[in-house]
């Protein structure tokens, strides 16, 4: 007993002294968080900050959509709606946009045709993943101050959709030319970056821009603060204390969130993934369509979806209501007998392929390997560090891959993965039927019949089993109801960390 009593003394003393310092110094933190909830400040955490804020850089929507706006947006029904462009007219050769008048960037630079030209050329010629889709823009003409014409190298029906994505925000041409935009975002959005109130690496503060074209009534918060708390437990803690108002989260946090009456969460589909049969060339492991179909029947998507709590099974890449969605595509329901029959029909070929895996998707690939093994397809999963994975998984060296297809339109999806020269088609093979259907859909441009033609394309992609076993991961957002209300996902589909910032209102208003 005596030893136990004595042993706790130094420890208790140490804790008491630490606690005393904390009490003395810690009060300021609480006071600050209380101020926030009454001063119209939204504190959002997306776990980090973009490495660059330059238009076209890899920027998740949760950051990008605070200072920036696009020319157009998608509404919840997949239709293009005006933002900085009010009207548009597209032909096979050009897209002409009429720009909103009276818009200025946060640095006072007018938003006009010249600004659009600088932005689009900067994105197209930049070293980023978003440059590729804009390569079809051969040149940009400033027809007049508020009319801009994008001259196209080929018919590109998805261009407007591309202009609505996080890959094409409009930044101040002055800041782009000065090279300062990478660290100091200057857009036309409701909130302007306030460097003086920000702490590098910890908090970025954006305050309402008085010159905002849509007026102060269009937003609820005077200030938006972005935080970079990467650890989910810490973020949930900060949410509970009111240090932050809103955060992305994981299902592992639901217990803590649901046990706190002030916290709520929502989810929406944000990330798609599906296997890609790369080795489809002559003599390739997946050259025979029956082998691919057999593989699709052997994959049990219901089981794959159980790997992650937020995975949902899908029949195809596109959702109902999106262009390219075909109700006749029902996917490949798991049927081992049918899979074996198809393999037998194909002559029971010996199929051995390698699949490159990163730490974050290796588990899913091991399940693929195990399920495909049941019909004799041997998949060797090769673990790799993320840098190697990202640069080699679809290089053609591996017969099978796990794609995270983020294309929003059937045109982009086809051009990215299935067209003969698509970067995601390393075997460079395309069936005559698919090419014919895609050519017809492309030729239909943005006409009414185009959607039906693209539905034919997605049906052929499914029938030829170029990919299958679609699942989608959900984005999870949690918020503190004492601070913020009207939290809903953005209408812009398939974006992570996307929240409708303009709809948010301070609690109690």
């Amino acid at each position: 007993m005596r030893s136990s009593k004595n042993s706790t003394k130094p420890k208790a003393l140490a804790l008491a002294s630490v606690a005393a310092v904390m009490v003395l110094a810690g009060c300021s933190g609480n006071a600050a968080s209380q101020d926030k909830s009454t001063s119209g400040t939204l504190a959002a955490n997306w776990g980090g900050f973009p490495e660059s804020w330059a238009p076209g850089a890899e920027m998740e929507a949760g950051y990008m959509r605070v200072p920036y706006e696009n020319l157009v947006a998608l509404n919840g029904q997949g239709e293009i709606i005006p933002v900085l462009a009010t009207k548009w007219e597209q032909t096979d050769k050009a897209l002409t946009l009429t720009l909103r008048e009276g818009v200025t960037f946060h640095d006072g630079t007018p938003f006009d045709a010249e600004a659009v030209k600088v932005n689009l050329e900067s994105i197209r010629d930049g070293k980023t993943a978003y440059a590729g889709p804009l390569k079809v823009i051969e040149s940009v003409d400033a027809v007049d101050a508020h009319t801009v014409r994008l001259n196209l190298s080929e018919p590109t029906p998805s261009l407007l959709t591309q202009l609505s994505t996080r890959g094409a925000p409009m930044g101040s041409p002055k800041a782009i030319k000065a090279g300062t935009i990478a660290q100091t975002p200057v857009g036309t959005g409701p909130w302007a970056y306030d460097a003086k109130s920000s702490t590098k690496g910890t908090r970025m503060t954006f305050t309402y821009y008085d010159g905002y074209w849509d007026g102060a009534d269009s937003v609820g918060f005077q200030t938006v603060e972005l935080y970079a708390i990467p650890e989910d437990n810490a973020a949930t803690g900060a949410l509970a204390t009111g240090e932050i108002s809103l955060t992305d989260t994981e299902t592992t946090q639901f217990g803590r969130i649901e046990s706190n009456a002030s916290l709520k969460h929502l989810s929406y589909p944000a990330i798609r993934n599906n296997p890609m049969f790369f080795d489809r060339g002559e003599g390739g492991a997946f050259e025979d369509v029956r082998v691919r179909q057999a593989a699709c029947y052997a994959l049990n998507t219901e089981e794959i979806a159980k790997l992650e709590p937020d995975f949902k099974v899908r029949s195809q890449h596109f959702s109902e209501g999106e262009p390219g969605y075909n109700p006749d595509v029902t996917g490949y329901t798991h049927d081992l007998a049918k899979a074996k029959a198809l393999m037998a029909e194909a002559g029971d070929p010996e199929v051995e392929v390698e699949m490159l895996a990163a730490p974050f998707n290796e588990k899913q690939m091991q399940v693929y390997a195990e399920q495909l093994g049941k019909i004799g397809i041997k998949v060797s999963v090769q673990p790799a560090a993320p840098p190697q994975y990202f640069s080699q998984w679809n290089s053609g060296r591996y017969g099978l891959g796990l794609g995270s297809n983020d294309e929003l339109t059937p045109y982009d999806w086809y051009q990215a993965w299935f067209a003969e020269e698509a970067p995601g088609n390393p075997a460079h093979v395309e069936s005559a039927e698919l090419k014919k259907a895609a050519d017809a859909a492309i030729a239909a441009g943005a006409s009414d019949e185009a959607d039906a033609l693209w539905q034919d394309v997605t049906k052929i992609i499914s029938d030829e089993a170029l990919t299958c076993a679609h699942v989608a991961g959900e984005e999870l957002i949690a918020w503190n109801t004492k601070v913020v209300t009207d939290v809903k996902p953005s209408t812009q589909p398939w974006e992570t960390n996307a929240i409708d910032y303009k709809a948010l209102r301070p609690a109690g208003e």
Binding site: M22, G29, G132, G201, A228, N233, G237, A416
Partner: protein
């Protein structure tokens, strides 16, 4: 002493060159091109070739190495592949947070480790065994987990400190100090346990030495004997292992900073490794190497001050 400093400085130069060469070589060996990481899955062979050419990745290894070394000697660590900003600027932004965290952890480890070690050596028996238990626990607890528990209890439940820990020292010294308390404890706890064990062993050995009995016999007060003579001698092996402790703290700080949202070098390095932003990786490793070698130099000098035999060698 001057000779010792000069000797250590001369030794530091080839060490730095070797570290730089090794990192440069390792980044060269990593499969896949940074251009593919930059352009993503939709990159065409033409765009990949263009970006590789723009970044100078199509140049021979030796040429790139010489160019990088030459620039690094003038303080130019190159431009980041991901945002074209100077690597030295990116590191300068992150370094204060890492130094705050590692410094805080080192102070905590030093103060509490030495205190516990001395107490254990002075009070053999139950207190010694209890401290031994605490230090075993300290060595076993992962910094990451301990940080989460500290955050949950003191920041979330009690609200004594903010969850979002870091405020730059220049911006608000009080907020900086408050914010760094929990991260420093989380980072420094295992190191404190290590220091406590080393101190206890060294101190116990010092206290058993004949000169301690002599000092006591001639009437030197106990406190003076312990602090002025026993502790000073006991600190020599402890100080010698501080270089190792520092290296452990720097490594662990990259994990602890994620728990407390401290914008340090860890996140920068992690993103750079994943994004194959090699100039940042090379620059960051070089800076960490300079830090470790610099601190070791300081420790060697301190070691020399404590131990005259080292000075004469």
């Amino acid at each position: 002493m001057g000779k010792l400093i000069a000797y250590r400085l001369v030794l530091a130069l080839p060490q730095l060159a070797l570290v730089s060469l090794l990192v440069f070589f390792l980044t060269y060996l990593v499969p896949g091109s940074p251009a593919a990481a930059i352009l993503g899955a939709g990159a065409t062979p033409e765009s990949l070739a263009q970006v590789e050419s723009d970044l100078g990745l199509d140049q021979p290894f030796a040429e790139r190495l010489v160019e990088w070394f030459g620039a690094a000697l003038t303080g130019d660590l190159g431009l980041s592949y991901s945002n074209s900003l100077p690597v030295s600027d990116l590191i300068a932004e992150r370094l204060p947070a890492t130094l705050s965290l590692v410094g805080g952890g080192l102070v905590f480890a030093g103060v509490f480790g030495i205190l516990l070690g001395v107490l254990a050596a002075l009070r053999p028996g139950p207190l010694d065994r209890a401290i031994n238990g605490v230090t075993s626990l300290g060595l076993a607890i992962p910094e990451f987990w301990f940080g989460l528990i500290l955050s949950l209890v003191f920041a979330v439940q009690l609200g004594w400190v903010p969850v979002v820990a870091y405020t730059p020292l220049a911006e608000d010294p009080a907020a900086w100090f408050t914010g760094m308390i929990l991260p420093s404890i989380a980072l420094g706890a295992p190191a404190a346990a290590m220091v406590a064990r080393q101190t206890r062993g060294a101190m116990a050995k010092s206290l058993r030495a004949p000169y301690i009995d002599s000092l006591t016999a001639v009437g030197v007060p106990r406190t003076r004997v312990v602090v002025r003579y026993a502790l000073k001698n006991a600190m020599i092996p402890v100080l010698a292992s501080t270089g190792l402790t520092l290296r452990i703290l720097i490594g662990a700080s990259f994990v602890v900073e994620t728990v407390f949202a401290v914008p340090g070098m860890g996140e920068l390095l992690l993103h750079s490794v994943i994004g194959k932003d090699f100039p940042v990786v090379q620059g960051a490793v070089l800076v960490v190497a300079v830090l470790v070698i610099g601190v070791n130099l300081v420790l060697d000098v301190g070691y020399g001050l404590l131990d005259p035999k080292v000075r004469s060698q």
